[in-house]
Symmetry: C2
Subunit: 390 residues, 2 copies
């Protein structure tokens, strides 16, 4: 085999700003429109993910690559980070024999397309070798570059992969390119007959090792999903006024809002790139609007990889609440939310009352902003269907 | 000076089970009743915390020792970990000159008693030296052992400190005790004329270095505060039945509940050791019960160092809600919660309806358990005062 191996490790001490685990805006599922410098890799590249670890150091029963955040195991995040790169043709995950069924189930459940699982060997090195050999067996075009990447380093970004693939292809990776000879690379050379190069990765490539790293990884993913939201106003003047006020208030909480009248035409693009939606409703029988948003999101098949958040903000007339107590039957939104939760969409409700008392109105808007920000950041499944008061 | 220096560093690779940052049950504020093996240290011990870092590697504007979790800066957690140890007589925090005011404010705000801030020198080594010298100036008894500890390693437990203090006192710490000579230790010896010993710490002593470590530290603290809660039933049969069902349901979510009728007599001890309280109320005009709990907690001055969670669970008769819409006026609990929040007590409400339909009842109880667990784990200030439906 003449594959070029790239083995990425993180040694650097720079700030670890969170990478974007598969949340680049995509126009088509599985394809990325994010090509660094507009260029593309035009030779076949494959990836081997050794994932045979037993998770001893986390102190948990589940090996860390199979630990879940936001309902999805770590290994699936790592796979997704590679799968969304259009020019990566195939990914081989090497797992312990006893985890083959689990891995196959994960691949099916999260609809990973470019992935095959193969059983590992008795050592990490043999496992990597098995993975590389499996690439040779496949029907697809033989890769020119093979990237070997720790399965428990989920935060890989496309720019780095692009640079690595280009460097590997251009330089050819002779043996003299070894920077830090690791056992792993030498064994790859010795037993697989391939050449290898060790390249320094950024600190975002850090390895999930301890239990505290699982918490850190979850927090990075949550932060990444919580930077922005899309507010749908329906176009009414009252709703637009509220949305504009919310936009300012949420800005102070480090979140950006895009305000749009509906999800039609060009705005349909938000369905494919946004993880959080806020539907503002002004009239009373208005769960229909939020039902429509849920339907659109389901049609776009967007909630597979990350839970989506939909917040229904109900602005009632100043006398409406006092007449009926709540305005909207809590059971209705709870039922809708319970159904949506099964499809990985988290629906919450917030009610506020129209008032001409400016101070009171501003306090309400600020509370909507704070509640919205907290719901989006925490993505708590236990609180879906609640109708919160602002 | 003849002080014995202990410099703790974490090099180990064991699982990092969270330590307990100052949440040992205490009978008197500032004193710990947790004496390993029942023994105590009977010689003067002091601590120097170098905290002059500028936080470059976190990528944040605020130096990491001043970053806040749950409303309190990291340095205060580290101070607290030492302060709660009865036999530690004084703590000197060494900070950059420009942060002296900030540090003084932190010491006052969180009522740290044994702490003095001194300005650092031009290097870390000079700063440590300043800290040690400041101990010599003080009026209190001259320490026999000085522990030098990184301010950004908040998770120190008393057992380790006890062992270290005893080892330092018994062995005398001659120069030959150096295990890993670090520049820091040699400089301490050279310029301060003291002897030093480097002791390996557990991985829980890990250093908060990157932004992701801040998230990990917050998650460890939240987990530590969320292991148990105290349910106050008032003694009524319906409330006790609900509390027992909750106890089982919450057990499946890795949380333990103690069920008590009230906070009188021996049960008053819970006010001093528990971070989470659930008040079950069966009648309608029942905010008075939760008001009493809030008063007791304020009197015990418990919410200074960690936010307390109080959840009011309102069990209404099967026909009560349908008559009045909600049973309890939402504005009343919101007002109570807003006032409590100013004192670092987070109050939430959960309503459920009595029913003879067993399946429905069990679903409601499970939902109360899930909501309770989520509220306690997340400790979200934005959601206080909400009346959630189970």
């Amino acid at each position: 085999m003449e594959d070029n191996h790239i083995n990425m490790q993180s040694h650097s001490c720079d700030p670890d700003r969170p990478a974007h685990p598969g949340i680049f805006p995509t126009r088509e599922a599985g394809k990325s429109d994010h090509q660094p410098g507009g260029s593309s890799v035009d030779f076949p590249v494959s990836v081997v993910l050794p994932a045979g670890g037993t998770g001893e150091r986390t102190g948990l029963q589940t090996p860390k690559q199979f630990c879940s955040f936001l309902g999805r195991p770590l290994i699936s995040y790592t796979i997704q980070a590679f799968e969304r790169v259009s020019w990566i043709q195939s990914i081989v995950v090497v797992v312990a024999k006893e985890n083959m069924d689990l891995m196959t189930d994960i691949v099916q459940r999260f609809q990973h397309k470019k992935v095959r699982a193969v059983p590992g060997g008795s050592t990490r090195h043999r496992s990597i070798c098995n993975g590389v050999r499996a690439l040779g067996d496949a029907e697809e075009e033989r890769p020119k570059v093979v990237i070997i990447h720790d399965a428990v380093r989920p935060f890989v970004d496309e720019d780095l992969l692009y640079k690595i693939a280009m460097a590997a292809e251009e330089q050819g990776c002779s043996e003299s390119d070894f920077e830090f000879g690791t056992e792993c690379l030498h064994l790859a050379l010795q037993y697989c007959g391939t050449t290898a190069k060790l390249i320094q990765g950024p600190p975002t490539l850090w390895k999930v090792t301890y239990k505290r790293d699982l918490a850190a990884a979850e927090s990075i993913i949550k932060e990444t999903l919580s930077r922005s939201a899309c507010v749908i106003t329906g176009g009414s003047e009252q709703a637009v006024t509220l949305a504009d006020a919310l936009q300012k208030a949420v800005g102070a909480l480090d979140m950006e809002l895009d305000v749009i009248p509906d999800l039609m035409g060009e705005n349909a693009g938000y369905l494919l790139k946004e993880w959080n939606f806020i539907q503002v409703s002004v009239n009373r029988s208005c769960l229909s609007e939020v039902e429509a948003v849920l339907k659109d999101l389901e049609a776009a098949n967007r909630a597979l990889l990350h839970p989506l958040v939909v917040i229904w903000v109900h602005l009632s007339g100043s006398d409406e609440l006092s007449v009926s107590g709540r305005g909207v039957e809590p059971a209705a939104i709870m039922d809708l939310a319970s159904a949506a939760k099964l499809r990985n969409i988290l629906l919450y409700g917030i009610q506020l009352r129209q008032t001409k008392d400016t101070e009171r109105w501003e306090r309400s808007v600020l509370r909507v902003a704070e509640i919205t920000s907290a719901l989006i950041r925490e993505r708590s499944p236990a609180l879906v269907g609640q109708l919160l008061q602002a």
